[in-house]
């Protein structure tokens, strides 16, 4: 596709359930990022994939959060045993992997944990 796509666009779940969020980056982009955004706030870095290198997981808030990127393309962010404080918009971005590059963002997945 022409841009970064994310699915689902909205997700409502119950506390304690696991959720999986998907990101399809721009074709050919080697770098992929996950961020979390609370309502009207800035973005909180979660995890960064660059090519075949080990991912930078320094932003993951707890061991309930994990992410993988299969085949250097699609990425899945998994949140286990969701808590109400996990409610937020989860944004994915991709870039060509060069330094000081534009990050292209998807529309986000709005997660609500009841």
């Amino acid at each position: 596709g022409a841009g970064v796509s994310q699915s689902p666009s909205n997700k409502v779940t119950e506390k304690g359930k696991d959720v999986e969020l998907r990101c399809d980056p721009i074709s050919g982009h080697t770098a992929l990022y996950w961020y979390r955004q609370s309502l009207g706030q800035g973005l909180e870095f979660l995890i960064y994939f660059q090519g075949n290198s080990a991912p930078d997981k320094s932003g993951l808030p707890s061991d309930r959060f994990s992410a993988e990127r299969t085949g250097g393309s699609v990425s899945t962010l998994t949140i286990q045993r969701t808590q109400q404080e996990d409610s937020a918009v989860y944004l994915c971005a991709s870039s060509s992997g060069l330094a000081i590059e534009t990050q292209y963002f998807g529309p986000g997945t709005r997660l609500l944990v009841l």
């Binding site: 970064v4 009207g40 800035g42 870095f45 660059q50 971005a93």
Partner: protein, 112 residues
Amino acid sequence: TQLLEQSPQFLSIQEGENLTVYCNSSSVFSSLQWYRQEPGEGPVLLVTVVTGGEVKKLKRLTFQFGDARKDSSLHITAAQPGDTGLYLCAGGKAGGGNKLTFGTGTQLKVEL
């Protein structure tokens, strides 16, 4: 830990007014980017500045990177309703790949 503080957090102005948004940090960044985000969408890049003291203009928007590369400002002249959105600064560091630290955000509303 939020390394980039933006001010003001909220700004509501009338069409035609000028405004400035500030992005401040105690850390030095090798690059500074500004993004605009509209409701239901992801942020979109407006500009990248990499040199201390650098000034870039994009139509009615003027961006400046501080001499010490710790702060930046965004000035909008004669604001229009289409400028409404969430403005985010983001800093990059050398050796950090393209990993960005985002600011706290400034929500701008321009009314007719």
